[in-house]
């Protein structure tokens, strides 16, 4: 029987997590503002090799010449980039003695998400009894990975221990000059995850950032690189359903996936950053660049459940370079209150017989704006490329908006492209029907929303799916009066 991450999580429930990924950096914060010296200092602080410093500097110089994109369908006050401290060592959150000391509102949310008591303690940073064999469990996890030659560690550690691999692949999918936020991230990225699956290896468990979030949290400029060597397989989970607050308003992460010949990467995300209060104040701005490269016969699937952030700007994309490669994008984006999301995907068909599927489900409530923006591009050499896109929007109430911007660029006549879009509203009749069967309005909405999102929820790993389902319910609570 395979030992899954769920098993591990189960075993860890009552135990302090001490997996050893935690990087101790002494608390220190750089002065606000960004210039070459700051970039150099960040690199030095992390004890990086010279090539990495040079790489960061090049990105920084490109960034200074770039301007923030204006095209997304979102409105916000632009951050003052000189008013941000670009290096701040992770602060240890104060350890609490019991759950009684935790914000009751946070506990209520945990409760609704069905997070176990022990897990709640871990998330809220309450001290947990250390049970003797916790180390052995973690070791099992580590050993299983090591046995298979799988590398899974913080990016900063990978730069030290596996410089050749990092150097070869970092920036190979999202070049430092790719866009404004990617350039900024490349210059100042704090940390992130590195993952390498060797040839022909099937990673036996779901790899999750959950296991290596250190006490300081994920940071503002995260960088993730997943490389699946020929014929390998990995399922990678990012984020967690528990609400995440952060004092940093701006987040600009970069995720790069490389799937070599015959490899498959499944990348699942649940994003639940603080969306701001009822009036839209104080939420996180989330500008993410995520892209995967598929070589021959490789496959990349992006699955995402986006419920958080005040502003989300995010287009996980696939470059289908190799012949017969496959790209998939399954997304649920929920916006409520004053949230704004502009999200979608890009499928770039370069190889022959490449195939892509896009299923996007947007749910808007309150006064929020939810936009899908997708590009399907068929290159002239991409014979027999196929794409199927389906974008469904569900509206709740009369004050929210759903927008769809599908772009199709086809330079090859043999391409088959199908696009379907629907917009529906949760109807009074549907609600009354459910009510009549004894289902109250809140539950009825959850039911209808889950039905609407099912095709995407089904793509998530089981346990993640259950949590994501609850998360959808919570995100929409009170949205129909």
């Amino acid at each position: 029987m395979k030992y899954t991450e769920d098993d591990l999580r189960e075993e860890l429930k009552t135990k302090e997590y001490e997996y050893g990924f935690y990087t101790d950096i002494e608390s220190e914060t750089f002065p606000k503002g960004l210039n070459e010296d700051i970039v150099r200092a960040i690199s030095k602080k992390k004890n990086e090799p010279q090539w990495m410093t040079a790489w960061r500097l090049e990105a920084f110089n490109a960034w200074t010449k770039m301007i923030e994109p204006e095209w997304p369908n979102v409105q916000y006050t632009k951050p003052n980039f000189q008013d941000i401290a670009y290096y701040s060592a992770p602060k240890k959150k104060p350890k609490l003695n019991s759950l009684d000391e935790v914000d009751p509102e946070l506990l209520a949310t945990f409760e609704k998400l069905g997070i176990s008591l022990e897990e709640q303690k871990r998330l809220a940073n309450v001290a947990v009894d250390i049970v003797m064999d916790s180390v052995s469990v973690a070791t099992t996890f580590k050993e299983t990975l090591a046995e298979k030659g799988i590398i899974f560690m913080p990016m900063s550690e990978a730069i030290q221990k596996h410089p050749a691999l990092v150097k070869k692949y970092i920036g190979s999918v999202v070049p430092p000059k790719d866009n404004f936020y990617a350039a900024l991230n490349s210059a100042v990225f704090s940390d992130g995850s590195f993952c390498y699956i060797p040839k022909g290896v099937r990673c036996p468990m779901e790899l999750s950032t959950y296991f290596r979030i250190n006490e300081g949290g994920t940071g503002q400029f995260e960088r993730t690189l997943v490389v699946a060597d020929k014929g390998s397989y990995v399922s990678y989970l990012e984020g967690c359903t528990a609400p995440q607050r952060d004092e940093n308003q701006l987040h600009a992460a970069v995720v790069e996936l490389v799937a070599l010949d015959d490899a498959e990467i499944k990348y699942s995300t649940v994003q639940n950053w603080f969306p701001g209060d009822q009036n839209g104040k104080g939420g996180v701005f989330n500008f993410v660049t995520k892209r995967g490269l598929c070589e021959t016969n490789a496959k990349i699937s992006w699955t995402q459940v986006e419920t958080g952030s005040a502003i989300t700007w995010k287009y996980p994309s696939c470059i289908l370079k190799g012949n017969r490669s496959v790209g998939e994008f399954y997304s649920i984006a929920v916006t409520n209150n004053f949230q704004q999301a502009d999200t979608g995907t890009k499928m770039i068909h370069l190889g022959k017989n490449t195939k892509s599927t896009i299923i996007s489900k947007g749910i808007s409530a309150g006064q929020s704006q939810n936009s899908y923006r997708g590009l399907v591009q068929i290159n002239s050499r991409a014979e027999n490329a196929r794409n199927f896109s389906q974008c469904d929007s569900l509206l709740m109430g009369n004050e929210c908006g759903a927008h769809t911007f599908p772009y199709i660029e086809s330079k090859n006549k043999s391409a088959q492209i199908e696009h379907e879009a629907t917009t529906s509203k949760i109807g009074e009749d549907q609600l009354f029907y459910c009510n009549q069967r004894g289902i109250d309005t809140e539950k009825a909405i959850a039911l209808i929303v889950n039905g609407f999102s099912k095709e995407v929820l089904n793509k998530l790993p089981m346990e993640f799916a259950v949590e994501a389902q609850k998360l959808l319910e919570i995100s929409l609570e009170g949205s129909v009066g």
Binding site: Y433, N435, Q436, R437, G438, I439, L447, G451, E455
Partner: protein
């Protein structure tokens, strides 16, 4: 069980029910007939508590309790079931999931634990075979792409699962083929007991050949204008409604 007195209700400021009286005792079957637009479905919706319908006068009691202030879901918990004339679609939600949710929500309201998966499955098996429903059907999205007859049969399946005190069947027979009508009617008769009651709204005698009513009421212009026994339905089938309307005028 159900007591309605001098009920007046309006929708969008238009008076639809205009002083309606109806008493239903446990163990009884009542048929309500009447011309199109008379207010039959409106009565069903008002009993079930649909918000759009405003009760301006009169009382609605279930087991001696005034239910006019209860929300639709609370009325459902109290044992009221409505088989819709036009059941709505809920994409992506399977029949099984829907009925499971409905049962557990009602149990929760009664302070009971969720029904175990084993019991739920057993009950689903039992009731779906009673109504001759192929179980594959139960994993389809609720009412999505169902034929007219399938929708109605599915309504009665839900009634069988929920075992309501008072069931109102609004034109359940329309859309059913002859065999389906027999199956559904048999199902309803099996569910009938001395503790529950059924109101059937229909235009046709053929349903009442299977589900034999104790009382037949004629609803016209928002009021019950005539009440009789099962033979009244036969009379209506033969003569239509004009003679009743004329009688009211004269």
């Amino acid at each position: 069980m159900l007591k309605i007195e001098n009920l007046h209700a309006e929708v969008e400021r238009k008076a639809i029910l205009k002083g309606l009286n109806l008493k239903v005792k446990p163990g009884e079957i009542h048929a309500i007939m009447g011309p199109n637009g008379a207010g039959k479905s409106t009565l069903a919706s008002v009993i079930a508590g649909k918000e759009d319908y405003e009760v301006t006068q009169g009382i609605i009691e279930l087991d001696g309790e005034d239910i006019s202030e209860l929300d639709p879901d609370e009325r459902a918990h109290a044992g009221i079931f409505l088989s819709f004339q036009y059941p709505v679609e809920i994409p992506g939600v399977t029949v099984t999931n829907f009925i499971k949710t409905a049962i557990n929500e009602s149990r929760k309201a009664q302070g009971l634990d969720e029904m175990s998966a084993k019991d739920m499955l057993k009950k689903i098996r039992q009731k779906s075979s009673l109504l001759e429903i192929d179980r594959k059907f139960l994993s389809r999205s609720l009412n999505e792409g169902f034929s007219g007859g399938e929708k109605k049969r599915n309504e009665i399946f839900q009634m069988a699962m929920l075992e309501p005190k008072l069931a109102i069947l609004d034109e359940t027979d329309s859309g059913l083929d002859i065999d389906a009508l027999r199956v559904v009617a048999n199902g309803v008769n099996t569910l009938k007991s001395s503790n529950n009651a059924i109101i059937v709204i229909t235009h046709y005698q053929r349903l009442l050949d299977h589900i034999i009513p104790d009382f037949v009421h004629v609803l016209h212009d928002g009021k019950i204008v005539k009440t009789g026994d099962a033979s009244l339905a036969h009379e209506l089938e033969a003569k239509g409604y004009d003679w009743i309307k004329e009688k009211i005028i004269s």
